[in-house]
Symmetry: C2
Subunit: 224 residues, 2 copies
DNA sequence: AGTTTGATTTAGGTAAACCTAATAAGTAGG
DNA sequence: CCTACTTATTAGGTTTACCTAAATCAAACT
């Protein structure tokens, strides 16, 4: 039987996927607890349950963290697909402000049907990235590996903005207002005050981004 | 604090509203249990909890059923508004087949935000009826009383189709396929086999509806 | 009034998903 | 190699929303 999963299980799987991408290898209980905002004990509990299932979503060993099984990965990518399609839909079709996309998608991703998914994907012309610049996993559960790097990991140069984290609403809002959106070309220099000075396109003024804000921005080398 | 409610609570409130409309007066636990598909004991439990809250959604007395409080009624109408707006949206914007509207709306009605509600209402031009012909409660929680009657309650005559129940997918599908939709003019005669013979518009052929199917259809006197 | 019946409530439990506090396991520095 | 620290697990609750089985209540019938 095709395994069922609850909202909570889905959130664990998504968190394991995300953290496992951030640094490959097994994902620690504590990291999951912090990411999910639950107590470490709750994570241990859940991982034991998930690993003990008939066809487990995860591979777990006491004290050494957890990995997604192929079917766990599949499910996680399915939810990420829902999330990003919903964000795109809210933005393109329902004219949501950019900073409200994430919260709504975070809830709805668990409750839409396959038909809903299929219909919004069709309506949007089967998009491959969401409004934040993140890749949308395909229906088959494929997602290209991320080749961008964090703005805080470069010193200076000219780049294309790849994506902006969807998690911090005020930052999203202000970057959007200042024209810093995925796809824009930027020239980056370091300010003395260890902030990041970003000149957008060929504009004369520059944005000054704090390290906290810069950490939310990912960029790609300019391959002209 | 503005009372919060869970998916389950919302479903109880909606059921109380629906059954209370069907026949005015207090709603019996058993009727709720049947409608919600849970055990009668579960209903009693829930009603006691609901009635014991600080600002209760219901007024409940042992052995004599339950009534919505004003705030309970408000909440129930809010969920019905979500349901019917979602159905309309799925039908008009996402081109869902008519028989798939209800199930999706039944789930999503609990999880959309006020922003989502507002946006789909705007996109649809603030509709007042859903694709099944049911009135959509206003933002302020007003809904006109139903003046239509059940097709099984009339003998013969010419009418306008008011609405078709959204609950029975196959019936919906076949009535839709045969052109029996809200707003159409129909001439009704009783067949010998105690079914209902319905001529749509000025067509020459007639549909033969079993009593079970006829019960799903509501009509209005033709006010030319 | 006494009895039967059907509706309803009480009692006692289960399953998910959390929690806190206490314990144990790994990892490193002295 | 042993202690201190960090990380993770176990133990023992809680809450929500269900369940079944066993009372109890109210209404209807002789
Ligand atoms: Mn998001
Ligand atoms: Mn899907
Ligand atoms: Mn419906
Ligand atoms: Mn609403």
């Amino acid at each position: 039987m095709p395994q069922r999963s609850t909202e909570s299980v889905d959130n664990y799987l998504k968190a394991i996927l995300t953290l496992g991408e951030r640094q490959p290898g097994r994902v620690a209980s504590n990291a999951l607890a912090a990411h999910l905002g639950v107590a470490p004990a709750s994570v241990t509990n859940m991982l034991q349950k998930l690993a003990a299932a008939a066809a487990p979503f995860v591979e777990y060993e006491r004290h050494r963290g957890v990995l997604l099984s192929p079917s766990g990965r599949r499910r996680a990518l399915e939810i990420v697909r829902h999330h990003r399609l919903i964000e795109t839909f809210l933005y393109e079709v329902l004219d949501y402000p950019i900073e409200e996309l994430h919260e709504e998608a975070e809830r709805l991703e668990h409750f839409i049907s396959e038909r809903f998914e299929e219909r919004i994907a069709a309506k949007l012309g089967h998009p491959t990235t969401d409004p934040h610049g993140h890749a949308i996993p395909s229906l088959e559960g494929e997602m290209p590996p991320r080749s961008s790097m964090c703005l805080t990991d470069v010193s200076e140069g000219t780049f294309i903005v790849d994506s902006i984290s969807d998690r911090d609403a005020p930052t999203l809002r202000s970057l959007q207002a200042n024209g810093l959106t995925p796809g824009t070309k930027v020239r980056v220099t370091r300010s003395p005050s260890d902030s990041y000075s970003v000149r957008i396109g060929r504009s004369t003024t520059a944005l000054d981004l704090s390290p906290e804000v810069a950490r939310e921005v990912r960029i790609l080398p300019l391959t002209k």
